[in-house]
């Protein structure tokens, strides 16, 4: 019997369902591991996104740098993290804060207090 894990709250286990839904989004994000692609993205974001078969919703999430939304739409965290390098750069904890919709310092305080 395959394991089930949908009961883990606030978690998008990156399984076949997510990987299928988000394949184009993850593929676009993974492409940014190449310098020439980062440059092309920076030059003309719309033209770059046209190369990938993103849904309208995924495209809007990328353009808005809405990481929580990208995750919900099937983007894998390690791939979409590469998008942060295109702008000012982000630590993983800052990416966490933006998903939580909180200032970075408040988020760090919250996770310190939340350790079980």
């Amino acid at each position: 019997m395959p394991e089930t894990y949908d009961d883990i709250a606030g978690t998008y286990v990156y399984d076949g369902r997510m990987a299928r839904k988000g394949y184009a989004l993850s593929k676009m994000a993974m492409s940014l591991a190449k310098k020439e692609n980062r440059e092309a993205f920076a030059r003309d974001e719309d033209a770059y996104l046209d190369r990938y078969k993103l849904t309208a919703e995924q495209r809007a999430a990328v353009k808005a740098r809405d990481y929580a939304k990208m995750i919900a739409l099937g983007g894998n965290i390690y791939y979409v993290f590469k998008l942060t390098a295109l702008t000012s750069g982000m630590k993983m904890s800052e990416l966490g804060a933006t998903q939580a919709g909180m200032p970075h310092e408040d988020f760090l305080e919250k996770i310190r207090k939340g350790i079980v």
């Binding site: 894990y5 894998n76 998903q99 939340g114």
Partner: protein
């Protein structure tokens, strides 16, 4: 004959690589963390291993879900640092040991493990951060990288990773050259990087894991992937790679060092050194 001298389990937090490159080791923020690795460095200096087998996972430097291998063994002469999106880190290529790599591949297949065989493999923070922490100046060892898919489910079970460690040990024991080998299992500890549960950390689970890893590791092979994710955070399923390391060691080991800190960046950091 080749001999497994011991094993090391360590987390591989990417921000540590950034701190290393910016030379922040002695700053108040980072010194307590980096100092935690000094006894491991001293042990390696004493043991003088010739080869490190590094069990790690790729996070989007060279492997992708277009065709994601569950297990992959590097058989290259050398392994360059990969570009994860910020440019490749200014580090040397890690020197491989293709003879041992191919021997391991042959032996694993005889043991009914069928890894992808990688003639070219760029390595990312999963591999490089542990190398920086364990040998902060230069890398005096040749390496055999073993990549495990812990990114796209279904990832292998904890029990499967343990058995991989057993098969790896048999392979090394049967290798004809007089070589000292250290096994490094990387990943984890508790962390969740995504979703509404982002930032989840568990000192309780991590310390349970570290205790059991030393004295009753087979108990950890019975934990489901779901329960690793539930108790330690979704991305902490990476801990299964520590079981490959432990599976390759003797049943009874001497604990040389143990270090734990949470949070570091967005994760809990752990380190254990076991001697056979």
């Amino acid at each position: 004959m080749a001999r497994v001298v011991g094993g090391i389990g360590t987390s591989h937090i990417p921000q540590v690589g950034v701190a290393y490159d910016r030379k922040l080791q002695e700053t108040p923020e980072w010194k307590p963390f980096f100092d935690g690795y000094l006894p491991a460095q001293a042990w390696l200096e004493r043991m003088q291993p010739d080869v490190a087998v590094v069990v790690y996972n790729d996070h989007g430097a060279d492997l992708f879900i277009d065709k994601m291998p569950t297990f992959a063994v590097g058989v290259a002469d050398s392994y360059p640092p990969g570009d994860e999106g910020w440019g490749a880190r200014p580090l040397p290529d890690a020197q491989g040991d293709p003879d041992l790599s191919w021997h391991i591949v042959e032996s694993l297949v005889e043991s009914e493990f069928d890894p992808m065989i990688a003639q070219e493999l760029a390595v990312d923070h999963g591999f490089l951060v542990p190398m920086n922490l364990l040998w902060p100046k230069a890398w005096p060892v040749r390496v055999v990288p073993i990549a495990v898919n812990v990114l796209q489910h279904p990832v292998p079970t904890a029990a499967r990773c343990w058995k991989l460690g057993k098969a790896l040990r048999s392979a090394i024991d049967a290798y004809g050259k007089d070589q000292k080998v250290v096994i490094i299992g990387t990943g984890g500890m508790s962390h969740q990087l995504h979703g509404e549960r982002v930032g989840f950390l568990s000192r309780t689970f991590d310390n349970y894991f570290l205790d059991k890893l030393e004295t009753a590791p087979q108990d950890l092979t019975q934990i489901t992937r779901r329960d690793y994710m539930d108790k330690a955070g979704a991305e902490a399923v990476e801990l299964i790679m520590w079981l490959t390391m432990r599976g390759a060691l003797d049943a009874e080991v001497k604990r040389v060092h143990r270090f734990y800190m949470t949070p570091v960046s967005l994760s809990s950091a752990g380190l254990v050194v076991f001697e056979n």
